[in-house]
C-alpha cells in the first residue's frame, strides 16, 4: 500500500491521497471515498480507481463494481452544468417529459448523448428530488427549480448561457 502511494505521480494524485488519509484507508468507507474523489474530478478516472483499490488493499474489480452499481458515480466526465430533471411520480404526472423534450431540443442532445460536445451541459433524469410539492422540478447543479414549464426550462438554460458569455 505504501509503495502505491509513493509511486503515484505527484500532484495529480495528491488530492486522492489526502482523501484516502482522511478516511483512514478504511475499506468500509469505499463509498464516501469515491464520493469525495468524484467531487474533486467530477467523475471517477480509471487510474484513480486503481489507486484507491491498491491503497485499500482490495481488488480493482471490487472498486469498479461499486462504482458502476451506484447511479451517482460517473465513469465519464460530465458537463460543467449538470441539469437533472425529475421524473418521479409527481413530476411525471405534471409533465416532466415535456421538459426533457424541450431541453434535449435546446441542447441538441438525444438518444445516448447526455453531454454537449463543449462539455458545458449534461442532461439527466432522476427519480425524485423530494420537492414533489413543486412538481415538475429540475436541478441545475445544486439549485432546485420548481413548477418548471418547458418555456421556463429554456429560459434557465439561456440564463446560464448568457452568464457564460455563450
Amino acid at each position: 500500500m505504501e509503495a502505491a502511494t509513493a509511486t503515484a505521480p505527484g500532484r495529480k494524485f495528491e488530492k486522492v491521497v489526502q482523501i484516502l488519509d482522511a478516511h483512514q484507508r478504511d475499506r468500509t468507507r469505499l463509498v464516501p471515498i469515491l464520493q469525495a474523489v468524484q467531487e474533486e474530478y467530477r467523475y471517477l478516472p480509471e487510474e484513480v480507481m486503481t489507486l484507491v483499490a491498491t491503497s485499500l488493499g482490495i481488488p480493482p474489480a471490487r472498486v469498479y463494481g461499486v462504482a458502476t452499481f451506484y447511479s451517482h458515480f460517473a465513469l465519464e466526465p460530465k458537463g460543467k452544468y449538470v441539469i437533472r430533471i425529475c421524473d418521479g411520480t409527481a413530476c411525471h404526472v405534471k409533465g416532466s417529459q415535456d421538459l426533457v423534450d424541450a431541453l434535449q431540443g435546446g441542447l441538441g442532445l438525444g438518444g445516448a448523448r447526455k453531454t454537449t460536445p463543449d462539455m458545458m451541459f449534461t442532461l439527466e433524469t432522476v427519480s425524485c428530488l423530494g420537492a414533489c410539492g413543486l412538481a415538475p422540478a429540475m436541478v441545475v447543479n445544486e439549485d432546485v427549480h420548481g413548477q418548471v414549464s418547458p418555456a421556463v426550462a429554456i429560459e434557465i438554460l439561456d440564463g446560464i448561457r448568457r452568464s457564460e458569455g455563450m
Binding site: 464520493q35 452499481f69 411520480t89 409527481a90 404526472v93 423530494g130 410539492g133
Partner: protein, 630 residues
C-alpha cells in the same frame, strides 16, 4: 460533561422573551427553491433600514430587548404556497412572498401591526383571506404531531429543540428506564414502522435487545427512494434532533453504542442539517461517551447514499454502509440478529424514529388513543398530483381518502390546475410497491391492514392523486419502468421478470397487444411476486395487479379496441383532421376502408371516431399533414 437540559432550555426561553416578535421564513427545500433566502435577506435589510432591531441568531448572553428574532424553519408542508413567512405573536402566515413584498410587510406588519391582505392565503371555497394557520383548511384539517415542530423550530438550533422539551425522553430512557422497559413501552404503544412494511417497532427492538452480542448498531433509514415521497426529507431537514433523539432511545433499548444515518444523496440539505445536528448534540455532551451520566457511549455517523433505490432495503443498505454494492441478502437472519458487520442492528425509518420521543414523553396509552386499533398514531403523507393543495400532510391512521383528497387537499384539479370537482379517478399510494385506490375506496379508513387487504399498501406514504386524464396503463408502465431500472439484478425473477412485464406493458400502450397479453402479464406478475428475493421484486408487480383489478376495462380497451380511453397513449390516438390544414382534397375519404371520413370538396373533412378502426391509411394518404394521431 453534559450541560443540564433544564439550564439550556430555560436560558433559551429567557433569551427569546427579549423579542417583541418572531419572524420565521420557511427554509425547506421547496421554499428555498422559490427564493426564501432572498426574502430572508430582504427582511433583514429592510427592517434595518427602518431602524428595527432584529436579531438573526438568538444569543444567550445578550440582555437587550429587541424588536424581533428573524429565524428560519424546516418545511412547513405547504411548499406550493411558498416561500412562507410567519409572524408571531400576530398569528400571521404570508404565502408566495417575493423580495418585492418585503417593504410592505415591514411597514404594515412589523411597524404597523397590521396584516398585508394580499399576501394571505385565500380559501378557494369562500374567497376569504385566512390570517394564519388556524384558518387555512389545509392545516386546520390535519393532525400535525410528528410534523408539529417541523416548520416552527429552527432546525439548526439545538437549544430551541431542548427548550421545547427536546432530549427529555432520551434522558428519561437512560436515567429512569431499563432497556427492557423502553422496549415494553414502545411495544405497548403499538407503534408500527413507517418505512413501508408496518412491522411493530417494539418487537424488532426486543429481538435485538435479547441478543448476547455486546456490539450493536442503530441505523436510521433516510434513503427515501420512492418517487413522489418527501416526508422523511422534511423531517430530517426540519427537525433533525427528533431523529437523533429517537436513535438514542433505540440505542438505550437494545444496548447499541454506534449509529448511522443513511441519507440519500439527492437530499444535500438534509445531509447538512443532520450533520449539524450531530455536531451540536456532541458539543452539548448529549451524544458521546457518557450519555446522561450513565457512562454509556453512543456516537452517530452520517452517510450519504450514492443513488440506488434498492439501498432503501435494509440488508442492501447495510451492505452499502460496509462499502459494498448495495445488494439485498436473504432473510433470516434478520438484521436485528445479525446486521451491520455481522452485529445485531436496528434499522428504522426516519419518521418511526422521530415518533419515538413523543411516545416516551406522553406515554403509550396517549399514543394509542389516536389512529385505529391496529395502526395507532398518525401518518405523514406526501400529497401530490392533480390536487389543489399539494404538500406534506399528517393525519391519524383511519382517516378516509375522501377527507385527504377533498378536504385537506382541496379537491381534484384538471390539467390546467383549475378545480375539477368530478375529476377524481384514482389515488396511487405507496409508490412502486403500492397500488391504486379508486372511487370505491374513498370512504375506507386508511390503515396498514385495510390497505393491504385491498392490494395496496401504506408504503412510504406517497399519495398521487390522478384525474380523468390519466391513463392507468401508463401509470403501471411508469412504475414498472422504475423498478426495472432499479432492480439490482441479483435474482432472475426480478431482473428478467420486470423486463418482460415492462415489454408487455409497452405492447399494450403501443397497440401491439393480443388476447394473450393480459393473461401472460398476470401470470408473470404472480411469479415475480413469489420468486423475487427482496421486497423490491416482491412488490414490483403491485401497481400492475392493482390497476388490472380496478381498471381492467381500460386495459381491455387498449388491447382489444386499440383505444386509450384517457387519450394519453399516442400510438392509440384516434386520428383527427386539423381543419386549418385540410384542403378538402377528399383523398383520405376515398382511402378510408370503412367510410369514417366525410366532408364537402374544398372544405375541411372530419373523422367519425366511432367508425374509425385506426388503420392509419388516412394519415399516410394526406399530402398536407392535416391528419394527426393514429
Amino acid at each position: 460533561m453534559m450541560e443540564d437540559l433544564e439550564t439550556v432550555g430555560s436560558a433559551y426561553l429567557e433569551a427569546s422573551r427579549r423579542h417583541a416578535r418572531r419572524i420565521v421564513v420557511c427554509a425547506g427545500t421547496g421554499c428555498m427553491a422559490n427564493g426564501a433566502m432572498k426574502v430572508l435577506a430582504a427582511l433583514r435589510d429592510e427592517a434595518g433600514a427602518h431602524g428595527l432591531d432584529l436579531e438573526t441568531e438568538l444569543r444567550f448572553e445578550e440582555t437587550r430587548e429587541r424588536d424581533g428574532l428573524l429565524t428560519r424553519s424546516g418545511c412547513q408542508g405547504f411548499c406550493q404556497m411558498g416561500p412562507l413567512v410567519s409572524v408571531e405573536p400576530d398569528g400571521i402566515l404570508y404565502c408566495k412572498v417575493r423580495p418585492a413584498d418585503v417593504p410592505e410587510i415591514v411597514r404594515e406588519t412589523l411597524l404597523g401591526g397590521k396584516a398585508v391582505d394580499r399576501l394571505l392565503y385565500r380559501d378557494p371555497a369562500t374567497g376569504d383571506a385566512c390570517r394564519g394557520r388556524e384558518q387555512i383548511p389545509f392545516y386546520a384539517l390535519q393532525d400535525r404531531t410528528v410534523l408539529k415542530a417541523c416548520g416552527t423550530l429552527d432546525p439548526e438550533d439545538v437549544r430551541e429543540y431542548v427548550a421545547h422539551g427536546g432530549y427529555q425522553s432520551a434522558a428519561k430512557a437512560f436515567r429512569q428506564m431499563t432497556p427492557e422497559a423502553v422496549c415494553k413501552e414502545i411495544l405497548e404503544s403499538g407503534l408500527r414502522g413507517r418505512g413501508g412494511g408496518g412491522f411493530p417497532t417494539g418487537r424488532k427492538w426486543e429481538l435485538a435487545r435479547i441478543q448476547a452480542e455486546p456490539r450493536k448498531y442503530i441505523v436510521c433509514n433516510g434513503d427515501e427512494g420512492d418517487p413522489g415521497a418527501f416526508m422523511d426529507r422534511s423531517v430530517m431537514e426540519g427537525n433533525p434532533h427528533a431523529v437523533l433523539e429517537g436513535m438514542m432511545i433505540a440505542a438505550r433499548a437494545v444496548g447499541a453504542q454506534e449509529g448511522y444515518v443513511y441519507v440519500r444523496a439527492e437530499y444535500p440539505l438534509a445531509v447538512a442539517r443532520v450533520r449539524r445536528a450531530v455536531a451540536d448534540a456532541e458539543a452539548l455532551g448529549l451524544l458521546g461517551d457518557d450519555l446522561f451520566g450513565t457512562g454509556l457511549p453512543f456516537r452517530v455517523h452520517v452517510m450519504e447514499g450514492a443513488g440506488a433505490f434498492v439501498c432503501g432495503e435494509e440488508t442492501a443498505l447495510l451492505a452499502s454502509i460496509e462499502g459494498q454494492r448495495g445488494m439485498p441478502m436473504p432473510k433470516p437472519p434478520f438484521p436485528a440478529q445479525s446486521g451491520l458487520f455481522g452485529k445485531p442492528t436496528i434499522i428504522n425509518n426516519v419518521e418511526t424514529l422521530a415518533t419515538v420521543p413523543l411516545i416516551l414523553a406522553r406515554g403509550a396509552a396517549a399514543f394509542k388513543a389516536v389512529g385505529t386499533a391496529g395502526s395507532p398514531g398518525t401518518k405523514t403523507f406526501a400529497l401530490t398530483g392533480h390536487v389543489a393543495n399539494t404538500g406534506l400532510i399528517e393525519v391519524p391512521f383511519g382517516t378516509t381518502l375522501r377527507h385527504i383528497v377533498h378536504e385537506v387537499g382541496g379537491g381534484v384539479t384538471a390539467k390546467d390546475g383549475s378545480a375539477d370537482p368530478a375529476g377524481f379517478k384514482a389515488v396511487q399510494i405507496g409508490g412502486p410497491s403500492g397500488g391504486c385506490l379508486t372511487k370505491a375506496h374513498l370512504d375506507l379508513p386508511m390503515d396498514f391492514d385495510n390497505l393491504t387487504r385491498i392490494g395496496a399498501m401504506v408504503g412510504s406514504g406517497g399519495l398521487v392523486v390522478m384525474n380523468q386524464d390519466t391513463c392507468m396503463v401508463q401509470v403501471a408502465k411508469f412504475f414498472m419502468q422504475f423498478t426495472q431500472n432499479e432492480s439490482c439484478g441479483k435474482c432472475v425473477p426480478c431482473r428478467e421478470g420486470t423486463r418482460q412485464m415492462l415489454a408487455l406493458l409497452e405492447d399494450i400502450v403501443e397497440g401491439r397487444a393480443t388476447e394473450e397479453t393480459l393473461p401472460l402479464l398476470e401470470t408473470l406478475a404472480r411469479n415475480v411476486k413469489l420468486g423475487a428475493l427482496c421486497g423490491l421484486g416482491k412488490t414490483a408487480p403491485n401497481p400492475v395487479l392493482s390497476t388490472l383489478e380496478h381498471f381492467r376495462d381500460e386495459y381491455e380497451a387498449h388491447v382489444t379496441r386499440k383505444v386509450c380511453p384517457s387519450r394519453v397513449c399516442k400510438a392509440l390516438m384516434t386520428p383527427a383532421i386539423e381543419a386549418s390544414l385540410c384542403k378538402g382534397c377528399t383523398l383520405c375519404a376515398r382511402k378510408c376502408p370503412v367510410g369514417a371520413i366525410a366532408g364537402e370538396r374544398k372544405a375541411p373533412h372530419a373523422i367519425d371516431p366511432g367508425k374509425c378502426i385506426r388503420c392509419g391509411a388516412c394519415v399516410d394518404a394526406c399530402k398536407f399533414n392535416a391528419i394527426t394521431g393514429a
